[in-house]
């Protein structure tokens, strides 16, 4: 038998009908964003984490916990308040209120903050119905990541007789929530816990069937060409130093102090004056913690078949609009100069994007509207048509200016 028949068979292989996809694009965005931040933590972060772990934690352990208040920022070790562990909730909701982030950091190492900075881009926290993602960074690029999952959204793997995790969640609903679970950790305020990746992170059951995790991972990020960086990423060649006991203590210390059932609402710089289409709902909000104020910088809404059908942001920061030949044009409408972009090719169908090329009422406005659902071949999204396209969305938008004192806690009518 020569190679030709084998090649002919390979060339004509047909695949069986594909089952429904479990791939979650929104989760890929969230995790990709988290991964980017951790990369940006860079080499200096290793030193920061190591120093924090080796010096700060033992000192704080000896002197008691330090409790952070929302407005006070990071406490100094010189004046630690008394030990106060937060109350653990008796039950967690199956769906979070996206407009009021459910949890918050209760303690962070000295020098860490949730406020964005140029070194680590710690901003862009995310509130979604089943997951809250918070980040804190240091000026030197260190990162701490807190993910709080709603009840049932992220369940732990089964364990063997010694308590060691043996598989991913059997229901497949939370593919990599505990992908790196490596063993049982000391309890967190009396609740069961697991080490992730030998202690780079810790996951714990903060309420029955509701889990959260904290990681303090900084990846060595030596300068690399695109090629070597890509190869390193996908080939898993990024090297991590061994986890120290002090690092484990650090993530557990952060975990122990996490506060739940928080009541601080997000503040929005805009308000929709018309209703969302029937069947659509708010799906996620990205926000920043500025001095204890939770400032939303964008939201996604849509129906179940396309949870990011509508994207809205109105920011005090200004980004250059992304002009693409063949897709973009400059237009003036409603007294605003826009880059208006339409995606309609083999990859994306019936998508309209608006980006204001100057600020409007002190804010840069972006509107993204998908007219077709994620499922290929399905009918156009009726709700998108009802909104009147991207310009129709803008016309239903009331901008509240750059001062958060004038912002609203409810962006929906």
């Amino acid at each position: 038998m020569d190679d030709n028949p084998v090649i002919a068979l390979l060339e004509s292989i047909t695949d069986p009908p594909e089952p429904a996809s479990r791939v979650d694009i929104a989760a890929a965005r969230r995790r990709g964003r988290r991964r980017q931040r951790l990369w940006r933590a860079g080499a200096p972060a290793l030193a920061v984490v190591a120093v924090v772990a080796a010096v700060t934690v033992p000192r704080l352990v000896l002197s008691g916990d330090t409790e952070r208040t929302a407005a006070a920022g990071i406490p100094t070790a010189s004046a630690p308040p008394p030990v106060r562990h937060p109350a653990m909730p008796a039950a967690a909701p199956a769906t979070f209120n996206v407009l009021v982030p459910y949890a918050a950091f209760g303690w962070l190492p000295s020098g860490y903050s949730e406020a964005p900075n140029r070194s680590n881009e710690a901003g862009e926290l995310t509130s979604a119905p089943t997951e809250l993602d918070l980040f804190a960074g240091s000026a030197d690029g260190g990162m701490i990541d807190l993910a709080v999952n709603a009840k049932g959204a992220c369940l732990p793997p089964a364990t063997d007789s010694s308590g060691k995790p043996v598989s991913a969640p059997a229901d497949g609903s939370a593919q990599d929530c505990f992908a790196g679970a490596t063993g049982v950790a000391p309890d967190v305020n009396g609740r069961p816990a697991l080490w992730i990746e030998d202690g780079r992170a810790i996951a714990w059951e903060y309420a029955p069937d509701a889990w959260a995790s904290v990681g303090a991972v900084a990846v060595r990020n030596a300068p690399a060409t695109d090629k070597t960086r890509l190869r390193g990423d996908v080939a898993g060649k990024r090297t991590l130093p061994p986890v120290t006991a002090a690092q484990r203590n650090l993530v557990r210390r952060v975990a122990v102090a996490v506060k739940y059932e928080q009541k601080t609402p997000l503040l929005f710089s805009f308000k929709l004056t018309g209703p969302l289409p029937v069947g659509w709902q708010l799906q996620s909000v990205t926000f920043e913690d500025i001095g204890g104020r939770l400032l939303a910088d964008g939201l996604n809404a849509g129906p179940a078949v396309d949870t990011s059908a509508l994207g809205l942001s109105a920011n005090t920061q200004f980004y250059a609009c992304n002009y693409v030949d063949g897709q973009s044009s400059y237009v003036t409408q409603d007294g605003v100069n826009w880059e208006y972009r339409v995606l309609d090719d083999h990859i994306a169908k019936n998508v309209e994007m608006l980006c204001s090329t100057t600020k409007v009422d002190g804010l840069q406005v972006n509107v993204y509207l998908d007219m077709a659902p994620e499922e290929a071949g399905a009918a156009p999204l009726a709700g998108s048509t009802a909104l009147g396209g991207a310009f129709g969305v803008y016309q239903k938008l009331r901008l509240l200016g750059p001062d958060p004192a004038n912002w609203t806690t409810n962006p929906l009518p």
Binding site: M1, D2, D3, V6, L9, L10, E11, S12, I13, T14, D15, P16, P17, E18, P19, S21, R22, V23, I25, A27, A28, R29, R31, G32, R33, R35, Q36, W39, A168, D171, G172, Q175, D176, A179, D226, K227, L230, R231, D233, V234, A235, G236, G298, S308, G311, S313, Y319, C321, N322, R341, L343, I347, A348, V351, M353, C355, N366, Y368, E374, A376
Partner: protein
């Protein structure tokens, strides 16, 4: 990533998800593993989106990420995450020579990952040697040798077995 690029990424992945899953399936021969691999790959694609969107072929870039994630994952990560109770129901492919296709699939699945990836890219997707080398991140010589080894292994696996004397 600014909102415009976030939207681009989402649109790209939405549009190309079926294609990426198919490649992942051909590499893994298992829909559950294919979805795990695709999830891993599109997360990596997000982190590299600025480069991917500016690449001469975003598709080639995305496929490269997927294939390399497959090769890396065989050693770690998603490959260990066996889903025990998947809802997947395998359906036989419509083929003129059903047994031959089943055989070649089984033989392909039994190949070492790099040989399998090389054959899938070259013959299932018709990539030339140089493009295959780029996407696998190896030399053209390696592609040629992996191709030869893979084809030899397939040929042996598919050859009629001599009857054993009782």
């Amino acid at each position: 990533m600014n909102p415009s690029r976030e939207a681009e990424y989402t649109e790209y992945v939405q549009g190309r998800l079926p294609w990426l899953r198919r490649i992942a399936y051909r590499l893994t021969q298992d829909w559950q593993l294919a979805d795990d691999l695709t999830q891993d790959a599109i997360t990596s694609l997000y982190t590299h989106w600025n480069r991917a969107r500016d690449a001469s072929s975003t598709d080639a870039y995305a496929r490269s990420i997927l294939v390399r994630a497959f090769l890396a994952g065989r050693r770690s990560a998603w490959a260990r995450h066996v889903q025990l109770d998947g809802d997947y129901h395998e359906h036989p492919a419509a083929a003129t020579d059903h047994d031959a296709f089943l055989d070649v699939r089984a033989a392909l699945a039994a190949l070492p990952p790099r040989q399998r990836a090389t054959l899938v890219l070259r013959y299932c997707y018709g990539l030339p040697v140089d493009q295959t080398a780029k996407e696998l991140g190896c030399s053209e010589g390696t592609v040629k040798s992996q191709t030869a080894k893979g084809l030899t292994a397939l040929r042996r696996a598919l050859a009629p077995q001599p009857a054993r004397k009782g």
